[in-house]
Structure formats: structure tokens, C-alpha cells
Amino acid sequence: MLLVVTYAKSARQALRNTCRRHEETVVRRFGRAALFRETAFGAFLALRLRAAHGGDVQLEVTEPLNEFADVPDAVREAAEAYADRETASTPYEAFAAGTDHPDPDELRGTEL
């Protein structure tokens, strides 16, 4: 999908107007951002906003994350294990210490 994020009042208002007029192309709206369908018309609407509001309109292409394909197994397993921890107040760093789970710095330094 196309992610449209606005950074000025005028751009945000224009995005709201676009979303109201083109519900069929807007997949989701969040405040000053929205997701458009990845069609040529979605791109047309997004680029029209950028043409009018320049750098106050950020455009990205999103794709769904498949945690079984796109993420190392260790990361997925660590997340599941941490969500299932016994003591809610344990920070992840302490949770991972002395286990096979990756430590937070290692996670931060690893690009997907």
C-alpha cells in the first residue's frame, strides 16, 4: 500500500479532503496519515498531494510483514517467549540475559 504522512496543517487538511472524496482508494486513515491502495490512481492522489505540498507530504510503499519469512526465527521466537514471560515487569534485556534469545543491542544492529 502507499503510506501518505503529512507534516503541515494545509497538507493534513488536503489529505482529509482527499480521503473524504476517494473512500474507494483509501484503505485506512490515521490522523494526519493514510494508507492508499497501491493502484495508479492511489499514486495519482498521493503525488497530487506531494505536488501541492512538497516535502510536507511523505510517501512510502508498505508491504505486509511475514514473520515466518522476513524475520530471523530467533527474533520471532524471542518475541513470543517474551510476550509469554512470567513476570510482567521484567525488561527484555534481563529476560534475554543467560538465554539463547538475542540481546537488544544485537537486535538493534541487525538489518532485516
Partner: protein, 274 residues
């Protein structure tokens, strides 16, 4: 107030210009322009913007006009300080503009060049091999292949450079957008506080407005709060003018007054009747 316009010269709190060759818009512009000597008067205060001209088709944002009337009488709102703080922080913020279009276009062009040259190199390589297989002279084809391979190598270097430049520009843009996001939050905070201040001031002034409605020509039913007002905008504008402290003259073209002096007394403000 001294007036010299449309062949007339006059002074006083209430001046009748219905016979003068001048229209209401010209007059109100002259009132608001300190350099315009046709109407010499004190500076119009905050309320003049809303009720400085009352014509037959006047429209009014009652809440904003009442808030301006309250301000003209020196009132302030509890939200003023926060609105001013947000406005000052916003002014102090230097949110840089973000423009990555040139970097994006360079990266895209570089990618296309590489793709095109790869195809050309593959085609020329095929030609060289075909000529060798049939024992023909491959010299010219080999030279063309070498040239294309050199251009491909250059294009690949450019693509790497363009992608790195785009990545750097994106990182810089992320920081600039943090600032712009902050600016947007401050602008929202400032505007929300100002709106709340207007609502507060309008409520605080509403009793005085209701009283003023009884004194001005026109019928209206004010209700208990600004949103409950039922009546025409001209009547509301006249009552707001009576409530407001107006040092500059109100231009009245609404046809509800015959006597400029009486109008000035009713509105408790200098008046130009047109």
C-alpha cells in the same frame, strides 16, 4: 474623528455621509488605513475587524466577534498564556524544508541507465559470439562491446553514488520532519488554545451582549449562550458594536439609523452613516 471625503468635510462622533459620493467599502478602508487622510481617527481596535462595517448583507461569526469585543475592553482569557507560549516556541522553531525530489530522480535515472546498458552489453556480447561462431571478423563488435561495458561500469558507479546520496538525504529528511512534526503540534496547540480563549471570552461577554440587544434596532432572541443566538447578523453586529470599545468609527450602511448622532449614542462609538 475628521472626515474629508466625497466632497464633504465633517467632524464629530456621528457623521452623515449618505449624500457624499463615497461607498461603504472605501470608507472602512480609509478608517483602517492610518496613512489615509480622508478619515482621521484613532487606530481601530480588535473589534473593528468584525463590526467596523455593518451593511445590509453583513455576516458575522458571533463567537469571534464577541471575543474581539471582550478584547477591545481589555479582557483576557486563561488560555492566553499557553497560546502565547506555543506561538513563541513555534516562531523560534526552524523547521527546515524537505525536498528529496532531485535525489529520488537521480537515483531512478541511474537505475534505468544501468538496466539499459546491461541489455546493450548482453546484445553486443551475443553479436560478438555470433560473428566468432561463423568465423567472421568480430573486431568492430568487440570494440562496441568494450565501449558498452565501460559505460555500464560508469553507470553502476553512478547508481551506487546516487543511492547513497538518496539515503543520506532521507536520513536528513527524517530529522527535518521531526522538527516539522513538532511545529505542527505547536501550531495545533496554539490554535486550540486561541479557539478555547474565544469561546471563553464570548461566554463571558454574553450577558452584556444580551443587554445591548435591547438597545439596538432589530429583533433577536439571544438564548443563554452564543450558539443559541437566533436572529439576523446585522442586529447581532450592532449589539456587538455597542458592547465593544471602538475608538475608530463604525461605517453603518444597514439602513437601521436615520440620525448619525443617535446611532453614535446607541453604539457608544463614532459612526459614519452611509
Amino acid at each position: 474623528m475628521r472626515v474629508a471625503v466625497g466632497g464633504r468635510e465633517a467632524s464629530g462622533r456621528g457623521v452623515d455621509l449618505r449624500d457624499a459620493a463615497v461607498d461603504a467599502d472605501t470608507l472602512v478602508a480609509a478608517v483602517r488605513d492610518p496613512a489615509d487622510d480622508r478619515v482621521r481617527c484613532p487606530d481601530p481596535g480588535p473589534a473593528h475587524e468584525h463590526v467596523g462595517l455593518v451593511g445590509p448583507d453583513t455576516t458575522l461569526s458571533l463567537r469571534a466577534a464577541l471575543a474581539a469585543a471582550a478584547r477591545s475592553r481589555g479582557a483576557s482569557a486563561p488560555q492566553d498564556a499557553d497560546a502565547a507560549t506555543a506561538a513563541a516556541e513555534l516562531d523560534a522553531l526552524d523547521a527546515p524544508a524537505v525536498d528529496l525530489a532531485a535525489a529520488r530522480e537521480r537515483a531512478a535515472d541511474a537505475g534505468e541507465s544501468v538496466d539499459a546498458l546491461r541489455e546493450e552489453v548482453a546484445r553486443l556480447r551475443g553479436q560478438v559470439e555470433a560473428r566468432r561462431e561463423v568465423g567472421a571478423d568480430a573486431g568492430a563488435a568487440e570494440a562496441a562491446l568494450a565501449d558498452a561495458a565501460r559505460r555500464l561500469s560508469e553507470a553502476e558507479t553512478e547508481r551506487v553514488a546516487a543511492e547513497q546520496a538518496l539515503e543520506r538525504a532521507r536520513l536528513a529528511a527524517r530529522e527535518a520532519r521531526d522538527e516539522r512534526e513538532r511545529a505542527l503540534e505547536l501550531a495545533d496547540r496554539r490554535d486550540n488554545r486561541r479557539r478555547e480563549a474565544r469561546a471563553h471570552l464570548a461566554r463571558e461577554t454574553y450577558d452584556a451582549f444580551r443587554t445591548a440587544l435591547d438597545a439596538v434596532p432589530g429583533e433577536a432572541s439571544p438564548g443563554e449562550r452564543p450558539t443559541a443566538y437566533a436572529g439576523d447578523d446585522v442586529t447581532a453586529a450592532l449589539a456587538v458594536a455597542r458592547v465593544a470599545a471602538l475608538d475608530a468609527p463604525v461605517v453603518l450602511g444597514c439602513g437601521r439609523f436615520d440620525d448619525p448622532v443617535e446611532a453614535a449614542e446607541t453604539l457608544d462609538a463614532p459612526v459614519l452613516l452611509v
